[in-house]
Structure formats: structure tokens, C-alpha cells
Subunit: 394 residues, 2 copies
């Protein structure tokens, strides 16, 4: 193979971090491996029969329409139903015109990057943050600033300091059950953040794929609700219905939506009509709230089993978050450990997880690691956490 002249490649190629997770997931898919590494929803909860019936109905009633080209902004009735759900559950005041359908939230980040980020622009990230955001913003060659994310939310003093010079253009925020930490901003923290942002022009990206997987069912107000003209709210069906369909959405004011639509059209014309309309049918025929309450119950049990195992088998000086929702727990090991070294030992025992260093824009904390609890049977959680505990106690 003749290799290409390397000068042909764009500069951004060197700014996208390779996903270490991809490598781990290759191991994770091998038989007899227990994987705490993935970020996968529990497939036993996928509404397979219901979605199958929706597809069958669609092909029967609107087959030709579903298979033809569609609108870049997405299927109108689906946009409408999403808007109405926000108005009902989150007390927003939006319409279908505030919604753009995307291929999952990841594409929302790409489209936002296209509309807002010039190379070198300052993007403020949580510390640690979602790896997919680092990969996406890397494509736009943005510069990063960071603000610490603790269990109850952001460090407000740090936030103030980072905003002082007015150079931050975008603030990427995952307020609910964040990937990787599982942490959620408290109500008080939200009010402090909104108050701090008040004097600033910057746009907040509020990425919220996990918000409804709140184990107690309580929902905190969105950042969008306080600052609708300068907040872009992202949602997704990936964690509450199915990720394989690749349907998410953006909520924003019409000015921002109109610019995002132009980028959506230039990027892939539109999201699959079939997957959009299957979800529309599902939402009109079935009870999503009931389905979500099932997810909450099962994930809560899995989290509880993981908590118990940590308390029972792990050294007392291992710190961990106490997520009230979502799919992840975040561990901080004492200084005598290194998460990548622990991973090596764990892999020899057939266990994988993601070392936390991969979730930092800079100066990674090598004592940290992320454990997924949504996609592992309870008995396997206990068994494998016990083995991890033994590794940490020797």
C-alpha cells in the first residue's frame, strides 16, 4: 500500500483523542469477560416487541413516505411530541420549531461545533468530562478550560475565575448523572451557575441523556429553563428506548436552530425517517413513563448491588460517588494505586473497566476509574467486584 503524503491530512486529525475505550471494548466483547467498561444500556430493557409492531405498522401505512427523503430538521410530529413532553415534564415553553432531530447526542455536539467553534476558541469543560465531547470538540481544534465536577455539581469559584476574561465561548455541561462520574448538580448548584453565567455572553450546551433515569423520579430544572436563549439542551432516546436507532435532538431558540439546520443538511441531509417514525409511533402507542420507571428500578438495584460490593470488598480509603441515577459510579483510589495498573491486573482475571484518565482534557487523575452498572447482571457485579476488591487489598 502506497501511503499518502501526510501533508494531505487536515490539522484537526491530530486533535481528536483516540478512544482508549474502543480498545477496551474489543476485550470486553470477548466471552467470559466481565465488563464494567461500556456505557451500554441494559438490552433486556429494550422494547423489542413494541418497536417491532411500530415498524410493521409504519411499513403498512406509510411505507413509501418513510422510505423517501425527509426534512433536515426532522419528522415534524416527532419534534412536536418531544417539545410537548418537555413542556409537561420540565415546565418548558417550547414548540416543534425549537427542536432539531439528530443522530443521537453525539451528532448534536458535531453540529454545535460547526455553528460555534473556530480553531482556538475557548470551550469550558467539566473536569472530568464525557470522552465523546473531547473527541468531537477536538475535531474543531478548540482550546479547553476546566472546572471541577464534584458529586454535587460544579466548583462555582473556579467557574467564576474561568469566566473572568470573557473568552469562553461555549460551556459544555452534563448536569444529570454525568458520564463518567454519575454526579448531578444540586438545585442550589444550578442556581449558583445560572447566577454566575448571567453577566456573560457564552452559550451553554446542556447535554442530558441521563436526566430521566433518576432513581427517585425527581427531576431538577434544566439550565435551559433559566436561560433559554443562551442554552442548547440535548436529549436522546439512546438511554431510555434504544441507542442502536441513533435518534437524539437539540432544543434551542429558533435563531440557533436555523443555523444548526443548515449544518445538519450539509452534514448528512437528515436523520433516517424510519428510525424517527418508529420512535414517533412508539411514543404515541406506548407509555414511555412506565418504561422509564422500569429502567429506574432495575438500574437502581444494580447500583445498590455495586455499592454493597464496594463497601464489603474494597479498602475503606477508596472514594466513590453515590449516583442517584444514570449508569456509572466513579472511583478514586488511594495514592498507592494507579488505575491503569489495576486494569492490567483485572484483565488477567477477566474483568475490564475504564481508567479515569481518559476523561480529562488535561492533567489526568490516574487514581480514578469509571464503573458501569447498567449492563451487568447483579450476580456478576458482586462476583467481579469481589475480585477487584481482592486486587486492591493485596
Amino acid at each position: 500500500m502506497n501511503t499518502l503524503n501526510n501533508q494531505l491530512f487536515a490539522d484537526r486529525v491530530n486533535h481528536v483523542p483516540k478512544s482508549f475505550i474502543r480498545e477496551i471494548l474489543k476485550v470486553a466483547s470477548m466471552p467470559d469477560i466481565t465488563s464494567f467498561a461500556g456505557g451500554l444500556p441494559n438490552p433486556l430493557l429494550f422494547p423489542v416487541n413494541e418497536l417491532s409492531k411500530c415498524a410493521e405498522k409504519l411499513f403498512r401505512e406509510r411505507g413509501v413516505e418513510v422510505l423517501q427523503y425527509g426534512a433536515s430538521e426532522g419528522y415534524y410530529p416527532l419534534r412536536e411530541i418531544i417539545a410537548n413532553r418537555y413542556n409537561e415534564k420540565q415546565n418548558l415553553n417550547i414548540t416543534a420549531e425549537n427542536i432539531l432531530i439528530t443522530n443521537g447526542s453525539q451528532q448534536a455536539l458535531d453540529l454545535i461545533g460547526k455553528v460555534f467553534i473556530n480553531p482556538g476558541d475557548e470551550v469550558l469543560l467539566e473536569r472530568p468530562t464525557y470522552l465523546g465531547a473531547l473527541q468531537c470538540f477536538g475535531m474543531f481544534e478548540s482550546h479547553y478550560r476546566e472546572v471541577s465536577f464534584n458529586d454535587g455539581g460544579l466548583d462555582i469559584d473556579q467557574l467564576r475565575i474561568e469566566l473572568t476574561d470573557g473568552d469562553v465561548k461555549l460551556f459544555y455541561s452534563v448536569p444529570n448523572f454525568q458520564n463518567p462520574t454519575g454526579g448531578r448538580y444540586t438545585l442550589e448548584n444550578r442556581l449558583d451557575i445560572v447566577n454566575t453565567l448571567k453577566e456573560h455572553d457564552l452559550v451553554t450546551i446542556e447535554d442530558d441523556p441521563y436526566g430521566e433515569i433518576s432513581f427517585s423520579g425527581d427531576l431538577f430544572p434544566t439550565l435551559y429553563s433559566f436561560r433559554p436563549d443562551k442554552t442548547i439542551l440535548l436529549g436522546s432516546f439512546s438511554k431510555v428506548i434504544s441507542p442502536g436507532l441513533r435518534v437524539g435532538w437539540i432544543v434551542a431558540n429558533k435563531e440557533i436552530i436555523s443555523k444548526l439546520i443548515i449544518m445538519k443538511q450539509a452534514s448528512d441531509l437528515h436523520t433516517s425517517n424510519l428510525t424517527q417514525q418508529i420512535l414517533y409511533e412508539y411514543l404515541t402507542k406506548y407509555n414511555l413513563d412506565q418504561h422509564i420507571s422500569q429502567i429506574r428500578k432495575i438500574y437502581k438495584n444494580q447500583r445498590d448491588v455495586m455499592f454493597e460490593a464496594i463497601q464489603k470488598y474494597f479498602p475503606a480509603d477508596v472514594l466513590y460517588t453515590k449516583p442517584e441515577g444514570g449508569m456509572f459510579i466513579w472511583l478514586t483510589l488511594p495514592h498507592r494505586f494507579n488505575a491503569r495498573k489495576l486494569l492490567q491486573l483485572a484483565m488477567n482475571k477477566g474483568i475490564v473497566f475504564v481508567p479515569g484518565d481518559t476523561f480529562y482534557a488535561s492533567k489526568p487523575d490516574e487514581q480514578t476509574l469509571r464503573l458501569n452498572f447498567s449492563n451487568i447482571p447483579e450476580n456478576k457485579i458482586t462476583k467481579s467486584m469481589k475480585i477487584l476488591g481482592e486486587l486492591l487489598n493485596t
Copy 2:
């Protein structure tokens, strides 16, 4: 609504041409309008029942797998079947590893832009060219050069001149039944092009959504076959099965594919498993060749009807291409006309088409227009072409 500080938007926002077609298509979807404007396949040819059966089987047999996250590079068996088809039909020598699945060809352009284009890089385009390419490359703030596309292919002298300084990084080419002209590179023209490119480093993007819709069934060799390490070949199911599913693909050497996969992951993780696997099922259970030969037959008839109407009703000095495939005819009006003015008159009579000026990177030819023949019943073609002819004769 508070408008945003305009400095928040990225420079690329001003480089993406608005699609005039979008505006026309809004008119086109009104009742009683005859639209020659769209680029839509004929929906009567969509294999609705077959795809419905595929979906039903999938949900029944692999529902959970289909609804879970999948690989960024695409569904392996689908990649394999696409590679094999090329090896069989086009005499290529590729494997699944040379294929990356995308959301239609439009996303392929986006991913290629991400891997190759820095702002200001020189991209060579056909004159006229596909509007979606202008929109996509606009996002990457590329500079354009142009080479004339006539009925038999590219102007080789111009091609040589544009390549002389060695600054062109990408050459965007649609060799078969191009949108908008319907033209196809002759075999001789292909050989001349490949010969001219020989001494150069640049990468050719060979966009080929229409190649198989060759009315006679003959296929010319791909540019990829001559220069596989420096050509990126794009294909799509949009014109031969269904555009609404949004599944296309990229063929390239493994070095290029590996860089494109990183961008695909950062852009939207992966293309919908459901749509990919439905197409895989279709390709294994049904005969795509038979389906394509039906498309060829019907589109050829529709083209013939349009030819007849031009000859019968249009002034003799209107020039037009003679496409041997695809979905479009390209007209060049005598100097006494202007296509946008004709469009105004035509709209008053309930007829729309796309003025050709929208397909030029620079110095648009305002005498040109594009007529779609794939998505209009034959009797409507004759009737509306007669009215257009009357407008041109008054």
C-alpha cells in the same frame, strides 16, 4: 427573543451556501404543482413490502442486537456484501475493511472534509457540480477551482492547468450521470483523467450514487480501479433502494478508512443498526440486480418522454444533455432567456425546476436549469413540458 452576540458564531457559518432548492421544494410540495425540481427517486419503485419483511425478521431474530450500540465502521456483514458486490460488478479487489458505512453519501463528504480539509485548502470541482458538495466543503472553508464538465466528461486541458501548481488537495468528481447535468465521463475521458492525475499527490473523491442506474446496463470502470490508494469511492443505497433509510458508504484504502472511522465516531458514533441490518437482509434475500433493472427501465421511459417533449415543444436553440442514466437533464437556454425569470413565469403556471446557477462554485451560468425526470408520471411530464415550451416560445 434575545439575539446572540454574532461573534459567537464560527466563521464557517458564512461559507455554507443556503440551499435555494430547499425553498423551491417547499413550493414543490404544494398540491397541483408539477415539480421538476427535486432530486427524488420514484417512490413507486421503493421495495416497501420486501423491506417490511426484512424489518419484521430482524426484530424477531436479532431485536436486542439491532437496538444496542454498534461499531463506528458499520455492520460487518453489510460491509462485506458491499465489498463483494464491487469485486463482482466492477472488478475491484477489496474487503469489508475497505468499507465504512455512512448516513448516505452526504455524510461521506463531511467525514472526508474532516480528514482532509484545512481552511483555505484548494478543492477542485466540476463545473457545474453537486450543490450538496458545495454546502459541505463550504463548512470546511475550502477554496475552489473548477474544471468544465461537458456531456462526455471533463475538459482535460483545463484539468492539467488547474493541477500545474500542485496546490489542489482534493478533486471532487461525479463520473456517472452527474447531478445536475446527467453527464457521464466516457471511457476515454476516464483514461485521460487518470493519466493526468498520475504525477500528482491529490486525492480524488469519486461520488457515485447513480452509476448503476445506467439505462443500457453498461458500467464504465471506476476511477478508484486505476488509482485505489489515492481515490475515495462513495456509494449509496439512496437511489437504488431507499433514501429515507440514510445508508451509504465509503470505499478507500485502510489508512484512509482508519482516519475516517475516528471522525465518524466523533461525529455520531455510528449509523443506525436498524437501517443497516434491514439493508443487509434485503441484499441477502432479494435480487438487487433485478430491482435495479426495473428502475433503469422506468427512468429510461421517463427520460424518453422528456426528450420527446423538448424536441416537440421547446425552441430549437435550447441545448440539452442526453443522459444515458440517472435522474436529470440539464438545459442551456439561448441568451435571450434567464432561468430564474423562466422559473417565475413557470411557477405562475404551477411548475417548478431548479435554476442552474445554484450548481456553480463561481460565475454561475444563468441560462442553465436542471430538470428531474425520475419522480414525475409520464403524462405529467408531457403536459408540463408543453407549458414550459410555450413560455419559451412567447
